[in-house]
């Protein structure tokens, strides 16, 4: 008899979309029967089982002072820590405030800024505690999530590709839209995982899965400029869901197209 693995799901600063992907996997997870026990998953149930946990799945970024302490408690109580989604793995779109003064945003957005207690930056979980595996995506891909959970349960290495979106795009049979339509695309510097959805519909890749394993930002931004993108357009395209991922952040800081 295998002891069930106690799984806990924790939300930090996020839109909850990645947790919805997890909920979408419940049928498969239920089929695992007594191999797993969902100990904590507020989006699904109020029921809660005390730690420690075998596996903690964390969504969201560290954004408010309380998060700093909470994530440490989660880490201390978890044998294996999996972070899911762009917020947890790079800080999310809310990390746009990292490049501006956060209090200016607060006073512009909220009627009573004094109610808001926020950190100056939105951080990936891994910048506060040790993380065992980061699953990218905004939102994450359902099959990839199942793969990572299965790999954990059966003690094997998750098969999550870190190469470019182009590889999925070509397998899918989509002709390169940068080449055939001169459409700016972040695919060559972005990690695969989504199945190359956007280029299949004629849209350039938005970079939802963050930087691929060896992104050549300079070569890509130079090509985007030669397709007619301005510095500002290139900067904005890099400053979305993974704005705080170092290669995207640095390329946006230093983009120089001579325009």
């Amino acid at each position: 008899m295998v002891m069930p693995k106690k799984i806990a799901v924790w939300k930090f600063a996020s839109c909850d979309g990645c947790q919805l992907t997890l909920i979408d996997c419940l049928e498969e997870l239920m089929a695992l029967g007594d191999r797993i026990q969902i100990a904590e998953f507020r989006e699904v149930s109020r029921a809660s089982v005390e730690g420690p946990f075998d596996l903690s799945i964390v969504e969201g970024s560290v954004s408010v002072p309380e998060d700093v302490h909470r994530i440490r408690r989660v880490r201390e109580n978890s044998q294996y820590l999996l972070t899911i989604g762009a917020c947890a793995t790079s800080g999310g779109i809310q990390a746009l405030r990292n490049i501006q003064a956060a209090d200016e945003f607060v006073s512009a957005v909220y009627a009573h800024p004094d109610y808001i207690d926020t950190l100056a930056t939105s951080d990936p979980i891994a910048s506060h505690v040790a993380v065992d595996f980061e699953l990218r995506g905004c939102p994450i891909n359902r099959s990839q999530l199942l793969e990572v959970i299965n790999a954990y349960l059966f003690d094997r290495k998750p098969q999550i590709a870190t190469y470019s979106v182009c590889m999925e795009c070509k397998r899918r049979g989509t002709p390169c839209i940068m080449v055939s339509r001169q459409t700016p695309c972040l695919g060559p510097v972005t990690q695969a995982g989504c199945g190359a959805i956007c280029p299949a519909y004629g849209r350039g890749c938005y970079g939802c899965f963050g930087p691929m394993e060896t992104p050549n930002m300079q070569a890509l931004t130079a090509q985007l400029a030669s397709l007619g993108e301005t510095e500002e357009q290139i900067r904005r395209s890099l400053r979305t869901f993974n704005t705080n991922a170092p290669p995207f952040h640095e390329a946006a800081e230093y983009v120089d197209t001579d325009d």
């Binding site: 870190t162 182009c166 070509k170 397998r171 049979g173 002709p175 940068m178 510097v189 004629g202 394993e213």
Partner: protein
């Protein structure tokens, strides 16, 4: 008049309606007809229902990192190769190998049963035909026979089209794979450029090809038709957009692994893998085990991989080819040099796809010319 002499049973002529007949006959024979058609702004291989779906009156313009289709001419095969090669039909992007079922308490292995389609390829260019010869070396004459590939090769029928114009990125003449198909086809077609009405010269290479041609409306071909086709071919060979100097290339690439030109191209290379995906001969794959733990079944799949991915050389301790430089060097050196050591031929057929479909337009002919040639960089 000698020019009008008949030239035997190997050659026939057909009109435009002959292409309609040809596709009809192939479909009656239960072939899935795969030919070029325009979709999504590119001309690429897809399943055809009839000859009207061919890219009549369309041309393409190809430059490094750029491809576009425009109107021009009145023929069906005025364009160069599109992004898709025949590779994906013979060597699918992913292929189920076997399943293991653990639900009964012990492991039950079952080989995947894959239906191999019966394809008729219409409009294969000589360079793509040559790529199949190269893949034969890899999949049929290597250590293991790839049985899917073998069955697909045997089931398929090959209708080649000889090029009547050369693209800006073409260099089949350098690689001696074109512009005229010499073997490996059942039938070849040459659209004749002449002031007369649309005419196609048919060359019959196999009995299978002959029985198909016998079922369509053709007329006798004459010696002047053949000489026109040869003139066209010579003209195409002379107007290649690119040249790859192959003399001494095998040694030059192997002996200059430290050439600074490798670092130069690595600065431009995205390591995205597009070149390997569009290449008609890049065959590398990885093996994935797909587990669906809840029903205790595990599947082993074979999927396309690329020497540009880090995981490709992952061993205990990490990936061997960490730098972009080492990965680009591996690709180019294998393609043009060590491929010869391994398979007896170059891995490049001169189709130009890797030049057009590189998002930043890296040109294999230029890069190969730089290695070991300091003056080429000046």
């Amino acid at each position: 008049m000698s020019g009008n002499r008949q030239i035997g049973e190997q050659y026939r002529l057909m009109k435009r309606s002959g292409l309609d007949d040809l596709i009809k006959v192939l479909r009656v024979l239960d072939y899935r007809v795969i030919g070029p058609t325009e979709s999504n702004g590119v001309i690429e291989f897809a399943e055809l229902g009839d000859a009207s779906e061919l890219p009549w009156g369309l041309r393409d313009e190809q430059k490094p990192g750029s491809y576009s289709v425009s109107k021009g001419g009145d023929r069906a095969f005025e364009f160069s190769n599109g992004p898709t090669s025949l590779k994906r039909y013979f060597h699918p992007t992913e292929r189920h190998l076997w399943t293991v079922d653990a639900s009964g308490g012990q492991l039950q292995f079952e080989e995947a049963r894959v239906q191999v389609p019966k394809y008729a390829f219409l409009g294969i260019r000589p360079c793509d035909l040559a790529s199949l010869d190269i893949l034969d070396q890899v999949f049929l004459n290597g250590v293991e026979t790839n049985r899917y590939y073998e069955s697909c090769r045997q089931n398929s029928l090959y209708v080649a089209v000889n090029c009547s114009s050369a693209g800006d990125l073409c260099f089949c003449a350098s690689m001696e794979t074109g512009p005229t198909a010499r073997s490996g086809f059942d039938i070849s077609l040459t659209e004749l450029r002449s002031s007369d009405a649309y005419r196609v010269l048919i060359e019959i290479e196999t009995d299978r090809g002959r029985s198909i041609v016998n079922q369509i409306d053709t007329s006798e071909a004459h010696e002047n038709d053949l000489s026109l086709a040869r003139e066209q071919s010579d003209g195409v060979a002379r107007s290649m957009g690119r040249t790859l100097h192959t003399w001494g290339l095998r040694e030059r690439l192997q002996e200059n692994a430290d050439d600074p030109a490798w670092a130069d191209v690595a600065e431009r290379c995205l390591t995205c893998g597009n070149c390997t995906m569009v290449c008609p001969t890049c065959f590398c794959t990885t093996v994935e085990d797909r587990a669906s733990s809840h029903d205790q079944k595990y599947e082993r799949w074979n999927t396309w991989d690329s020497c540009f991915s880090l995981d490709f050389t992952f061993v205990s301790g990490g990936a061997l080819r960490q730098s972009s430089k080492s990965r680009y060097r591996q690709w180019l050196t294998h393609k043009l040099s060590t491929w010869v050591d391994q398979f007896g031929v170059s891995g490049c057929v001169g189709c130009g796809r890797c030049i057009a479909w590189c998002p930043v337009g890296i040109d294999i002919t230029e890069e190969a010319a730089r290695i070991g040639e300091p003056q080429a960089r000046a």
